[in-house]
Amino acid sequence: MASTLSMNGEDPVERPDQIRAIIGGLERYNPQAAEVLEAYLAQQCEQKFCDCNANRALLKLYQLNPDRIKDEVVTNVLVKTMTQFPSPQFDLALHLLSPANAKPGPPGKPTSDLAEAVGKLRALNAHLESANYAQFWATLDNDTDDIYADLTTDIQGFEEIIRVRIAQLVSQSFREISVSVLESWLGLNSEEEVVNFVTETCGWKVEGGVVQIPKNAENEAKKTEIREDVNVDMFSRVIKRSWEETA
């Protein structure tokens, strides 16, 4: 599965020429380009692909023109980058936010709604980056004010994208894993759901409560010896000199 699922959230093949022209030229500084990039983000949210590079161009426009900031666009960009874990994408987006919008202030001090939302998303992202997948789902489920539900509502199939990504990462580290561990990591509610997911979506086998993951380059941990590549070029100067001296 790891090989078939392409993960190019930085420069995806889906990127249209119009967007390529904007982010590759000076048009990326034109405040009017924000509308085009916003529409493109909406398209990414619906069609389940991710163009982090173009989304950063949008955040950059917001950085330079704070009066244009749309809170829900900023949070949508962050949620989209979150699906790329583990990667620096979420951080790269955060770096472009104004410090005042990037995290809520100390308790008791009023901060903007955006800062509150970004703080929530940072907490969620930290679970994914630190591979605390069970906590990620627990945080999502324990959403008493429906904040996370609101923040992720525009991103089609958010939970499914995360689940598939976790499974992919598991396949890169595990040869076998117990169904119960996977249940908490995939945020599923019964062993039956796990069995269904891994057999149908991942094509793995389950035997006696243990999920068998096919061999791949990542989960083999083969012994290797790193040898030095020796070629003639490395000695070219010595050879040249000795040639010149004898000649």
């Binding site: 620096p88 951080d91 410090p99 012994k223 010896e225």
Partner: protein, 476 residues
């Protein structure tokens, strides 16, 4: 360009009666430094009226001079206006202006000083807003939101790049074609070509200061980082380029690439140390230490063998710190913070601060640091995990969790984090952002349920280097 006032004559700093005399002295001094030939001057005189040429040359020289550290706000505003009128003259005259840059270093010095002043001005403005106790200056700054504005600075740099068609020229050079064919009427002139070239490096820096690390690296797409590059002839430019490229790589978690950049330039500096003049060397020494601090951070994230010269310098300068980073755990966090603060660029905000609510203005450095520290925290147990795994070929997860005094689930997360981070994008060819996913660690493992299978790549002996060194030693 909106910020450019039409037909502005350069006005001198207020209350500076002797500035004419001083400026003359300065010009004379500089001319001597760069061994300005009398012939060149004579030629210039023929091209324009003697007075006008002198004035313009003086302005060119002036633009490359550092502003006094304690310059008043008026002087900073004045300096901005001077830059605007100079760049306006260079960019918006009818056709290319017939001026020769005073020296090879001049174009770099101008761009460097221009960005440095933009940087310090933004920092100063933010501090006035944050402290909120200097109403007079705050009002002054509030009334002029576009002075040293981010859009104007970017505009100058991009305009110089476009006018000089430097991107096209560099492309032609890369294809081994004659750059003059694509240089256009402006780009064939030294003045434009060099300003355009160093504006690219200026952009790298500005993007990095604003926290846009990938765009910073993207900016250098057309410049090949090698000894033949134009910037390599100007030491300060060479140095600055590698610092910002290395830093941007680090922020993109490309530690192997960051280390390659820092190592390259530090080795180069150590080799040229003896020819550098004192004043220049001071600023280089400071940046040198900053890069060593960054190397410490990168090598903690990505353990690797360093060049001997660098390793020695690192142990001398940050020996204790490095040890703490390499040990990991919560105790390493303050050390990461300290080193980052010491070595990061002076980040700025691209928009004017809010003077009415002083406490709403957070230092951009704290912002970037907090994001960076998130990743540090995520990885802080990796050194500990690695040191244990090296001891075994197979290990039971619950047993190891017992050694480390953590829950099995926590250990699973740590194992995943460490394994995921050993894969990094590493540059092989093409633009700086290009690269391949490679496994950067000699330690690998996979889990079979709760059984950890560990394999360590063995390093074969490296003999080529040994042979070459001894051959040259014996037969030199």
């Amino acid at each position: 360009m909106s910020a450019f006032q039409q037909g502005m004559a350069p006005v001198r700093a207020m209350g500076d009666v002797d500035s004419d005399v001083e400026e003359e002295a300065l010009v004379a001094d500089y001319k001597e430094q760069v061994q300005y030939g009398e012939d060149d001057m004579a030629e210039l005189d023929q091209q324009a009226l003697a007075q006008a040429a002198d004035d313009l040359q003086a302005r060119l020289v002036q633009a490359a001079q550092p502003l006094d550290f304690q310059a008043t706000l008026e002087a900073k505003f004045q300096s901005y206006d001077n830059y605007c009128s100079l760049f306006h003259y260079i960019l918006n005259s009818e056709g290319p202006v017939e001026l020769e840059p005073p020296s090879y270093y001049w174009a770099w010095d101008v761009i460097d000083e221009f960005i440095y002043q933009f940087n310090t001005f933004s920092t100063y403005r933010a501090r006035i807003a944050r402290q909120g106790n200097n109403e007079e200056e705050a009002q002054f700054l509030r009334d002029a939101p576009n002075t040293w504005g981010c859009y104007s600075v970017l505009n100058v740099l991009y305009s110089l790049i476009q006018k000089s068609q430097i991107i096209e020229q560099l492309g032609a050079m890369k294809r081994n074609e004659d750059p003059a064919l694509v240089a256009g009427p402006y780009g064939t002139k030294n003045l434009y070509r060099m300003l355009g070239y160093f504006s690219i490096i200026g952009l790298l820096r500005v993007h990095c200061l604003l926290g846009d690390f990938s765009l910073a690296l993207k900016t250098l797409d057309d410049i090949e980082l090698n000894k033949k590059a134009m910037f390599a002839r100007v030491m300060a430019a060479h140095f600055t380029t590698y610092y910002y490229v290395g830093f941007s790589y680090m922020m993109m978690r490309r530690y192997a690439d960051a280390l390659r950049m820092f190592s390259h330039i530090l080795i180069y500096v150590s080799r040229t140390k003896n020819f550098q003049k004192n004043a220049q060397y001071d600023s280089i020494a400071k940046k040198n230490d900053q890069m060593l601090a960054l190397i410490a951070i990168c090598v903690a994230f990505h353990p690797t063998r360093l060049d001997d010269t660098i390793h020695t310098a690192l142990r001398e300068k940050f020996g204790d710190e490095l040890l703490k980073l390499q040990r990991g755990g919560p105790e390493s966090l303050p050390v990461y913070e300290e080193l980052f603060k010491k070595a990061c660029p002076k980040f700025i905000s691209p928009v004017p601060p809010n003077f009415d609510v002083p406490e709403s203005n957070i230092d951009p450095m704290d912002h970037h640091l907090s994001i960076f520290m998130e990743e540090v925290k995520t990885n802080m147990f990796s050194p500990i995990i690695r040191s244990y795994l090296r001891l075994y070929t197979t290990m039971d997860l619950k047993k190891l969790a017992g050694f480390l005094d953590v829950q099995p689930d926590e250990l699973r997360a740590m194992l995943l984090v460490n394994k995921q981070r050993t894969k990094q994008v590493r540059w092989t060819e093409g633009g700086l952002l290009e690269g391949e996913w490679v496994n950067t660690s000699d330690l690998d493992y996979a889990l079979q349920g709760d059984l950890i299978h560990i394999s360590e790549a063995k390093m074969g002996r490296k003999l080529v280097d040994w042979y070459l060194r001894n051959l040259s030693r014996t037969y030199a």
